[in-house]
């Protein structure tokens, strides 16, 4: 933990280890001094971080763009054609390698690319050994918004957003429930009155009591359970902050408009899930959640490692095809193209929201990636990475960087973390640890 430079939990532990401490809220002003008019100054527009993650990899022989560098110096590969409309806003990184031990098909790669740390395998069960990058960033920037982070995905299953070992953030897989969570009760559009509701303060006092219970129980348990209770404590504290925020004036953001609820439940059609329709509804909600500054960190796990989703017009489940389809896998390639089309939609949804002199995407960084390169053999070389958005001018766009030395993909993660304005000495663990940014993609 020291090595990763995260010390928030240590601080918490320090608080809890004492006796008879009442843990109150930090002064609320600290969280709101950037709201309202402060956003009129473009330099203070918040930076957002996103993940677009799909399962089962790509077909590397058709993956790598031709040419390197900027603009017309490089051309999208055939698999990336669905990203044509957003080419000027993406940065493709190829030739790098996930360096964690490849001990479990798919999930080792997922742990490596999302946390820079090896997968922890205990018996038949697998968990990340360290927080995923979205949570590393959310720990630093998420506290200023109503939701520290949002996780969703049309076929996300349990997602891959980890707070730590054995602690996942369950994603929302229903557009209507995602809508209700963000824009239902508790949401206020700019200009709305602040909520005067006596129960908000009461709920906070209830959460204080719950935290007292957690502190008391903490003194009776061993080290592992202390860590588990600390995580519960974290969650409660975050809820308390959210309630406090609802009592303040909503941020004044020109682009924020409460959206209409998505229509319907998107039931399966002939046994096939409506992945595209669900994804698009949720991407629209996510973009507006960011425009309304309800969150600054959002992860879209459109499909899951080893998923066997039946995509439209495809003859078998995705995972089976990656292993069973012969030759250069035309059906798998078609699935990858469909998925990247969904990524293009997410990017465009963010780009369509004006903000300051540019748009929401300009002030965001999205990490697009998967769990393997070639699914058939669970390869972790030539690892697929497509970044989107410039992160307030930090990251080059319309750019292809090709590594010739199979560099460590954690360098990309550390670059993104630092581009979010977070100082960190190094990131990752074991062979995947690095202290270096990928300078070539920085503006």
């Amino acid at each position: 933990m020291n090595r990763r430079g995260l010390d928030r939990r240590m601080l918490l532990r320090g608080l809890l280890a004492g006796t008879a401490i009442s843990i109150g809220l930090p002064p609320l002003e600290a969280f709101f001094n950037t709201s309202g008019t402060a956003y009129a100054d473009g330099s203070q527009l918040p930076r957002r971080f996103g993940i677009f993650y799909w399962g089962n990899g790509v077909v590397p022989s058709h993956w790598v763009p031709t040419g390197e560098g900027t603009g017309s110096d490089w051309q999208l590969s055939s698999l990336m054609e669905p990203l044509t409309a957003v080419k000027e806003d993406i940065c493709v990184v190829t030739g790098m390698e996930v360096k964690v031990p490849n001990t479990a098909p798919h999930l080792s790669g997922a742990a490596g690319i999302l946390s820079g740390s090896p997968l922890l395998v205990v018996g038949e069960d697998e968990t990340f050994s360290a927080p995923s990058i979205d949570q590393v960033i959310a720990q630093q920037v998420g506290g200023e918004t109503r939701f520290r982070s949002l996780e969703f995905g049309a076929a996300a299953r349990s997602g891959l957003s980890f707070n730590g070992p054995n602690n996942k953030n369950p994603p929302e897989i229903s557009p209507i429930l995602l809508f209700e969570r963000i824009f239902g009760e508790g949401f206020r559009a700019p200009g709305d009155e602040s909520i005067v509701d006596p129960t908000l303060a009461l709920r906070r006092s209830v959460l204080d009591s719950v935290m007292d219970d957690a502190s008391a129980l903490r003194t009776r348990v061993g080290a592992t359970d202390k860590a588990r209770l600390d995580q519960h404590f974290d969650g409660i504290r975050e809820l308390e902050l959210r309630l406090a925020r609802m009592e303040e004036d909503p941020p004044d953001l020109a682009a924020c408009l409460a959206p209409e609820p998505p229509d319907g439940d998107y039931p399966d059609i002939d046994g096939r899930p409506q992945i595209s329709a669900k994804n698009r509804a949720m991407c629209d909600l996510m973009a507006m959640a960011m425009a309304c500054d309800q969150t600054r960190v959002a992860s879209n796990f459109i499909t899951y490692p080893v998923n066997n989703e039946l995509f439209p017009g495809i003859s078998a489940g995705h995972h089976n095809l990656t292993h069973d389809e012969v030759g250069d896998q035309p059906e798998v390639r078609e699935i990858v193209r469909m998925i990247l089309g969904e990524y293009a939609y997410m990017i465009e949804a963010m780009r369509s929201i004006n903000e300051g002199d540019g748009n929401l995407l300009d002030n965001s960084i999205v990490l697009g990636t998967t769990d393997v390169s070639l699914g058939r053999v669970h390869d972790l070389t030539e690892f697929p990475i497509i970044l989107a958005g410039g992160g307030c001018g930090a990251i080059k766009t319309d750019f292809h960087y090709r590594s010739t030395t199979a560099e460590n993909t954690t360098k990309v993660l550390l670059t993104l973390i630092r581009s979010m304005g977070i100082n960190m000495t190094g990131f990752g663990d074991d062979d995947a640890y690095t202290e270096d940014s990928l300078g070539e993609i920085l503006v």
Binding site: N102, N167, N169, L207, V210, G235, A316
Partner: protein
């Protein structure tokens, strides 16, 4: 019902243990340090229904369960509560509290007094103590009660309503880690200070979640209060009472559901183009069929557990009858039927649940089915393939039409065969059942050869293979190991293996009676003892 036989055994056991002065005839165990166990989704729902009655609408969205060692109940001892989970538990708590306080019948059942004013600390205190006692499975301390009464008072003042205020105290109780986690942490055994035992209240909670998958009832809490659950006699009496109650069926169904991963059937995914029988009803129906079989063997017949592999009796509905190609026993719902005596389909391994779960979405799988037999039924771990292994098997062609032809490489390449020899031969014995469990005689129009050899014993038909699995010497040990895992929330560690082996021996001696195993386990040190908690230890920084 629950067998005269097990009752007789119990009385004999209790008498013996009484005279043998404690647990001397059980081997010593060295258990690991206890850990907090989070309520699973099912446990949360059952518990809340018991606390508030059947009219309350239960929250459907809670922190998801996750499995460890195959068990959600073991996963509950390692996972934590995520920020989203805390949010969902908060929603659930207020939903329950407002329902309880708005419905006078529910309210009168849990609030033991009428308030004399909007703020009535005495009445609030009575509620906090009685409801907290049930919800936290122990007495609420004075400090805790004071804090909860203060919440009730502040809230009643703010809302100008005693009961609405009380709802906030109730929400505090239901969001507390004292409710969401089972803290079974042990105490020094007064009779043997070198040992650590679970306390009376902890034993009440352990028994209740093990046997009923819910919170202790009033009788069990009273027994804990009276100190009965730290004695062999008291434990035996209550375990027997609970096993005889219909709720024990629910509890042990949960155990078997987790043992066979039947919860995964809720998300069964098959390619409808390949399996035209596929519908969303199949997964739940298949789960119900298997659980009914287990329930019948354990409770109705108190039969030898191993008949689960060989019986031709099963309970099916119309959906399953269509797949089995037999008449549906009932027009609606499930009914008992006897499958044809000359057919291949027999026992739990011939049911859609097992056959469809251990297959791919578009095909059967000899490897997955073989792994299931080795790992789940025999507790023989199979190593994972190297992660860079090419796990594709060749396409079906004119020369290799059947799965047996196609997995040939598994069994001839020495790198593959070291493990696939252990699994694929067994799995090929299931080949007369396709990826959804329908009987077939051909694969790609070529006749299926489902004969083979299992650890040196040849079989010709599926019923013969099932018989070999049923009589495999590792089956009783493995079942005992599973029961231990479910009851204790962790896989047996080295220091506990003597205890598991001893329980296995008793299980065999009882002619594989599941209820006998449950009762033996409950009175054994492996269930009643733990290790002292190192409360000074702090989480490491790395």
């Amino acid at each position: 019902m629950t067998s005269l036989r097990s009752t007789t055994i119990l009385f004999a056991l209790a008498a013996c243990l009484g005279s043998c002065n404690g647990t001397s005839e059980y081997p010593e165990v060295e258990p690991p340090e206890p850990t907090l166990r989070r309520l699973t989704q099912a446990q949360y729902a059952n518990t809340v229904a018991d606390l508030l009655g059947p009219t309350v609408v239960l929250p459907t969205r809670l922190e998801p369960d996750s499995a460890a060692d195959g068990y959600l109940t073991v996963g509950a001892a390692v996972t934590t509560i995520s920020p989203r989970g805390a949010e969902l538990y908060e929603d659930a708590a207020y939903s329950l509290a407002s329902q309880a306080m708005a419905d006078t019948a529910v309210r009168d059942a849990i609030v033991p007094c009428a308030p004399s004013a909007t703020v009535d600390a005495d009445c609030a205190g009575q509620f906090v103590e009685s409801f907290g006692y049930k919800a936290w499975r122990r007495h609420v301390t004075d400090d805790e009660a004071e804090r909860l009464v203060a919440i009730a008072g502040t809230s009643a003042t703010a809302l100008d309503d005693f009961h609405e205020g009380l709802g906030f105290a109730m929400a505090a109780i239901l969001q507390s880690p004292n409710f969401l986690f089972r803290a079974e942490l042990g105490e020094p055994d007064p009779g043997d200070p070198g040992r650590t035992r679970f306390t009376d209240y902890e034993m009440a909670s352990r028994l209740s979640y093990f046997l009923w998958n819910t919170t202790p009832d009033d009788t069990l809490l009273a027994a804990a209060e009276a100190g009965e659950l730290t004695t062999i006699e008291g434990l035996t009496e209550h375990a027997e009472r609970m096993l005889a109650d219909p709720l024990a069926r629910r509890g042990l169904r949960e155990f078997y559901k987790e043992q066979l991963f039947l919860y995964k059937l809720d998300e069964l995914s098959k390619d409808p183009l390949v399996y035209t029988h596929m519908s969303e009803d199949i997964g739940p129906a298949a789960q119900e069929e298997t659980l009914r079989l287990f329930e019948r063997i354990v409770f109705d017949d108190n039969a030898d557990y191993r008949t689960i592999f060989t019986t031709r009796q099963t309970s099916i509905d119309r959906t399953l009858a269509a797949i089995y190609n037999v008449p549906a026993p009932e027009r609606e719902g499930f009914g008992l039927t006897e499958l044809p005596g000359d057919g291949e389909r027999v026992g739990v391994l011939g049911q859609v649940s097992v056959l469809a779960l251990h297959s791919h979405a578009v095909s059967s799988s000899a490897t997955l089915r073989g792994i299931f037999v080795r790992e789940t039924l025999l507790c023989q771990p199979i190593p994972l393939p190297p992660s860079n292994a090419n796990t594709a098997i060749p396409e079906a062609t004119g020369e290799t039409p059947t799965l047996r032809d196609r997995v040939h490489q598994h069994l001839t390449d020495p790198g593959c065969a070291s493990c696939h020899d252990l699994t694929d031969h067994i799995g090929l014995g299931f080949e007369h059942f396709d990826g959804i469990g329908r009987y077939r005689t051909t694969d790609n129009d070529y006749p299926i050869d489902a004969t083979g050899e299992f650890d040196g014993r040849p079989w010709q038909t599926f019923p013969e293979l099932a018989e070999q699995i049923a009589t495999h010497p590792d089956v009783p040990y493995c079942f005992t190991n599973h029961m231990f895992r479910y009851a204790n929330g962790h896989s047996p560690e080295l220091g506990e293996m003597d205890g598991v082996r001893d329980l296995e021996a008793r299980f065999v001696k009882s002619k594989h009676s599941v209820t006998s195993l449950v009762l033996d386990l409950i009175v054994s040190p492996a269930y009643r003892q733990t290790a002292p908690v190192d409360t000074a230890a702090e989480p490491s920084n790395e």
